[in-house]
Symmetry: D2
Subunit: 344 residues, 4 copies
């Protein structure tokens, strides 16, 4: 029997969100966001974030990221971002596509985190002129692609530098819930209070069906976002069903409850991994160096997970979903402890 | 109380499809189409179309159209299409965007239908060279944007000419169900048997939540479609929920049952419109010349519908949804008959 | 022996301009426009146009047009323009490419001229919303692609309407010299005094080697033009040689002298064409309906010219170059008179 | 008095090439490459390269590079290239623009040279799937952006690996003449015999006015290059003048004579730089670590040159042009020796 640790996108929809879809399914409603549910989004998210925000639903995280960046950066622009980011490695060039060919300018850093020093270093190493692409945005991931989390003070240092160098700050929050649950801070503290300008607020991985939201903390940055969303075919006609997911997701802190559970289970797995652990487990992902042979044995035992990094690196990624069975987690802990006991 | 005739996208989800979503919601499933439901799509649609086809789900009709065309046409290419088409008037330039800047070359024709003669005329009027865009595809809409339907023999004449001139044929089937129900022919006869190469198979407007499928009748045309879909952020992670909609939609001819009902009600409205009717009612849309004053009165009476055509043209579009109440239809018929009685 | 009436781009470089290239060829000069010749451009063109202008050299008219339009129009925008324009028919989609996929929205009109009424009609027939492309510019050609010329009052009516509808006005002046020589007005009257915002100022066809200039009459419209020019590979490194051409071209009214001569000869050919003439000869182009058989005979007699319009239309275009031999013109007049005498 | 070492694009046009322009300036010639001079290009370059090649002139090196790469790589593709390359640092994103958003995937290496090991490392570190960009080309620069030169055996190793991994090989030869002169091998040995598929053959920096050529060694790779060139506005109408430059440039080994002289002078400067030299001087560029204070003094003494690398790195680049005065070179040698004597 398979035990799924491949991605949190293998999990089903949380019952509260499925219920919300059923409740939304009564009678007619205007399309394209002009319905009663969609019209609640701005207010509800403004409450959540403790300031007026504008919210634009889409159905994929890639759409949220790429459309947000395309709005911030011209075709001849550049987005500074960590080399291990999702926008770099897993979106088939969507940011380049949506922006009309802007460049991702890569930054290195431990745990897939960008530091202010590293950001400054890359900017200094790339003086600009009419002959160069123009850095216009910083995109960071929270939680990061390696399961670590930026603290608010780290974010503030980054955003301060970014703004001083003329960069807007975008946060890829595909696992924003896991980050906030991990930090124990408010959504505001994890974003705009630290200087984040635009957030890709993820819900799909943490219990929704297909619902993400681009949250603008500064109305002047919205610019032509709505035209870009439509043109990229991401303006959903029966929008009420996306909005219903988002509303249910933040209702009664469901998003944080689900994320906290996943984080908690992930921490147990991280502890079991012992010295094989590659990065601190600060959200719901565990990265382990297990070697190719052990990876094969785990797969034979029914565990599903991704190989990570370069070909034949022997690194593995395990992701805990909102509904992960305790039993699966226990089984994985046992297996990882056994590997640890055998040594490298 | 509002009576919604604005668009079939204002209708809710059919209960069978909502049930399918709930049934799909059990346990883990691999993402991006590698799940048991998605894996049935090719076989089920191959049965439906009586030949091997490949099926790629997306969540909007605009995505289906624009991605299909981008696969058929290079950036320096042109798509021949009717000037009243959805891809021309309602997609904010998505075909141009997805294709890297290909051009829509417009054809005129009664009832938003392209004739072989008109297609030939436009091709002849635009000789090609290295200095010109290169016509590479014909895109037709079935049912058309004005609610008319191509007969199989009309399609065959068009496709034969298109192919002889080096054009692939794409069909925008956002209301394909209404067209097939209207024609009383098989899906095969309405598409590949007549020469259609790629179909945007719509489900959203006719009872799904957000589900469309790009159906390739010729495997060699798929080319790099999957990269383009991912890059445009239209590869849904929890794909099972899109596939579940599509499977329920074609199960037991649900799609045709729903469409036939809407067509039937639309025909009654068309009859009531009398001389004000602008185009034959062959699917689920009715276009009426009512004048601005009458339009205003209908709106006061609670009817929702779109003004159509040029500003202040006095034309109105009414669309009947799969779940339109008989009572709404009766009320609209009564109102239109009253207008007709008063004369222009 | 061939007699070239195919295009004014078959003509050689005027001796004054070749001399200027030789004079520019002394010692070192900074690249990319930072040389003494290039630095004169703004001042010299400001004198010519009787107001401060900014001038950006490029090497092709297509580059001038497409880069200017890309600066005025976003990717989801539209350019209103005559269906017979060069940007529509002869640039292989360069405006779409440079703009990131903007659309050309076509206007019909006699003699390839756009009227204010026709412009208003197309705008009214295309109401805008988030679902549509957004008209942002009008592009007109002076002299037009059919050899006619806009009078200043016609331009003013067009520009007034365009501006009132939120459109910037671009003029494709590949044959601007011929138009100004024909009108007998000042360059200012033919452009910004009538409301033109940006001009593609052509020199190549009228005696230069490869030199065009984008002239901005409003500095705020320049926006990111310089990044776009570089990115499109149209920032010439040894810019002095392009600037030298442009400076020599406008020195001592050379541009108008050359154009006036060509216009004068073209008028003689137009008169000889008699009833076969398709459009008034107002610049240096003559369009004649001669039929396929006569076209073949003319070609046998050594005349080179383009077939025009649709395939097998029997229409021909003759263009008179700045250095066209009188003898060639006489021979063509004789031939056309003979055709006229034989009747259709 | 200024002594120009800023770039070889500050140099004038070689007299032989200016003469060729004058000779080309007789009478009419068909446009767009259909003239007697342009028609010689393929044959003349085929002789030069000792195999049948196809040659497409453009006016900038950026155009040659970006158009060649756009032909080799789809929008969702990636170009592997050194992080110090011109296409990375000095083309304002032209490759991304021309290709529709392909990515430059960066490789590190000493002297701006890519090694087979480094290429393999980057490919291994970036496993591909539908979620990733697809590596399709390797682009290398000869001579490199740091003035070093690939030997034929190095090229062969690189090309063999690239081809085995599904990459086409493009060579940016903006300073190809300097590389060939330096290697003392044949143009064939420096390109296709080692496995290069497409070459940007530069002439502008080494004595032409504005002339580069894209040389295809494999006809099947040309694909839609001609449409892309036109669409990017790089099909020159009076092509004879570009072709004339290219023909004169390779006539009687002019290109190698000019390059050899510049290389020779550069070597002298490199020797004078002593321990401050940053990279071996293998072509016509010299990179020196001189510090900001010394750089300022050199500038006061009239030397023009670029700061190189990161802001305030204290690195400087000197480029020797084909017509560099011996006296300038002597003066620079003297100045550098003085700096060396003073120590760091």
């Amino acid at each position: 029997m398979a035990r799924y640790f491949k991605s949190d996108n293998t999990a089903p929809v949380a019952p509260q969100i499925l219920d919300a879809l059923r409740e939304a399914n009564t009678g007619f409603a205007r399309g394209y966001g002009d319905d009663p549910l969609s019209e609640q989004l701005d207010a509800r998210f403004s409450t959540l974030f403790e300031r007026p925000v504008r919210v634009f639903p889409v159905t994929t995280g890639t759409a949220a990221n790429a459309l947000a960046l395309a709005t911030l950066v011209p075709p001849y622009g550049a987005v500074l971002t960590h080399s291990e980011g999702h926008i770099v490695r897993d979106e088939c060039g969507a940011p380049e596509f949506m922006s009309g060919g802007a460049r991702l300018m890569l930054i290195e850093g431990i745990g897939a985190k960008v530091t202010a020093a590293a950001l400054g270093g890359v900017l200094d190493a790339n003086p600009t002129s009419v002959h160069t692409v123009q850095p216009r945005a910083l995109s960071i991931t929270q939680a990061t692609e390696l399961g670590t989390v930026y603290r608010p003070d780290e974010l503030a240092a980054l955003c301060t530098l970014a703004h001083s160098r003329g960069l807007a700050v975008h946060m890829d929050g595909a696992r924003f819930a896991n980050a906030v649950a991990s930090l124990g801070c408010s959504p505001a503290e994890a974003t705009w209070r630290a200087g984040v300008d635009v957030l890709s607020f993820g819900a799909t991985k943490n219990g929704a069906m297909a619902a993400e939201a681009v949250v603008f903390f500064k109305p002047e940055l919205i610019a032509d976002f709505e035209f870009r969303r439509k043109r990229a075919a991401h303006l959903i006609s029966k929008m009420r069903y996306i909005s219903a997911q988002l509303l249910a997701y933040i209702e009664d802190d469901l998003w944080l409850t689900l994320a906290a559970r996943a984080n908690h289970l992930a921490a147990r797995i991280g502890a079991a991994a012992g010295g094989a652990l590659l990065h601190p487990v600060e959200a719901n992902e565990i990265f382990v160096r297990i070697g190719e042979a052990s990876a094969a044995r785990l797969r034979e035992a029914g565990f599903e997970f991704y190989d990570w990094g370069a070909a034949r690196s022997g690194e593995a990624r395990f992701v805990v979903s909102w509904n992960q069975a305790e039993e699966d987690v226990e089984a994985l802990c046992t297996a990882l402890r056994a590997l640890a006991a055998r040594g490298p």
